[in-house]
Amino acid sequence: MLTKRIIACLDMDGGRVVKGVRFKNLRDAGDPAECATAHARNGADEIVLLDITATSGNRRTLLDAVRGTARSLFVPFTVGGGIRRLEDAVAVFDAGADKIAINSAAVRDPALIGKIAGRFGSQAVVVAIDARKVAGGFEVFVAGGREPTGRDAIQWAREAAACGAGEILLTSMDRDGTQSGFDCGLVRAVAESVSIPVIASGGAGSARDFIEVFRDGRADAALAASIFHFGIENIAQLKRELHNASVPVRWPC
């Protein structure tokens, strides 16, 4: 049986893992390679590394972190942040990523999705969408949540899938870092609109939140960062609780 995935996300700034609340107030949470292997050992089904302050100046830092992390990681590894062109994606794959996540660049140039998928396969292209609730729906934001686009999140998810995306990583900006639960309404609306897997992100605080987003939100996977880094929710313990609640998970792993 296909299981629901638990994904540990490492937000990286200047070579260190950090975590903020609603995309602000960053706290240090450790070395990316060490964090990634610790999470994998603890039962994480995948690791996502996001360079949240990606600029052309620190590409080398990101690639070094990807290389260091990939060396001893034997679960799927996704890297995102600052991937604007096919060449950026090639460098990240060469450094050891299995998938790349693109966000702002895909909104600006949806053809980029097809270009990367054409070279590495759709399964290697995750389109990340940052969405915030607005009157009448959910709006897509880019540039780390700073710029509104006026685009509807569900429409954009459909278009991204049609362009060749293999998965959607859907973050609720309203819930990010708040530990107040996933936005199941948003997740379900997108999950029911596309035929590719949807990863729910933003708001994880407890095992109950994960159970809800898998059941009510119809998510294929759920991602969290801060609750895993600071030991609030241990992944192995979380999986045991999901298993007990009859949510199919890779357990024991």
Partner: protein
């Protein structure tokens, strides 16, 4: 020396990295001579079945079939396993090696595609590739087309229907999942291949 065949399809680094981690001697190659000289062959691959066309132009197709048929241990991963069958609905004008019967098809429309994530394996006890691997172990899949369950199926998974997770016939092995991304279970399977 294990030859990992590079035919320009996707990213071979993670496959190489897993063998490196196991202490196996590996080389990435696009040369038929290197394939012929190797003690074992791995054909990886992700993406579209049409990328297998590259094997034909380079003489690799002939070298792979000759060496596998002559008894050299061969492991096809993902697209590399699909190539062992007769072909795929994904690209009808590229022929597979036809070492296993049947064609790869798309998953039915009532399940999401691609099939992405960790799924459990129902393993045939006699398999050499799965020696020591527990029944219902989880492995990581990512694919839109599947190979049919055949007599030589060494392990099967279910996603809308039952499909071949792995095939095994003598020295020829194929896995639809990614052992290099399947944690300790995947590493155990690759180790078994190294020891065949």
């Amino acid at each position: 020396m294990i030859a990992i065949v590079d035919y320009g399809a996707g990213n071979l680094n993670s496959v190489k990295k897993a063998f490196d981690y196991l202490g196996a001697e590996v080389v990435l190659t696009d040369q038929p001579e290197t394939v012929a000289a190797a003690s074992k062959i791995v054909l990886p691959g992700v993406g579209h079945f049409s990328s297998l066309r590259a094997l034909e132009a380079t003489g690799l197709r002939k070298a792979l079939i000759q060496n596998a048929s002559a008894g050299k241990p061969f492991l096809g991963i993902c697209l590399g396993m699909q190539w062992l069958f007769q072909g795929s609905e994904e690209c009808r004008d590229v022929a597979g090696a036809a070492l296993f019967p049947g064609k790869c098809q798309q998953f039915p429309s009532d399940v999401k595609s691609p099939h992405v994530g960790w799924n459990s394996l129902t393993v045939q006890n006699r398999s050499r590739l799965f020696r020591g691997v527990a029944q219902d172990s989880f492995v990581y899949y990512t694919h839109s087309f599947y190979a049919p369950v055949v007599t030589e199926t060494a392990a099967a998974s279910e996603y809308g229907l039952w499909f071949a997770g792995a095939v095994e016939l003598g020295n020829i092995f194929g896995v639809q999942f990614h052992p290099e991304k399947s944690g300790d279970v995947g590493l155990a399977i690759l180790k078994n291949f190294c020891e065949v």
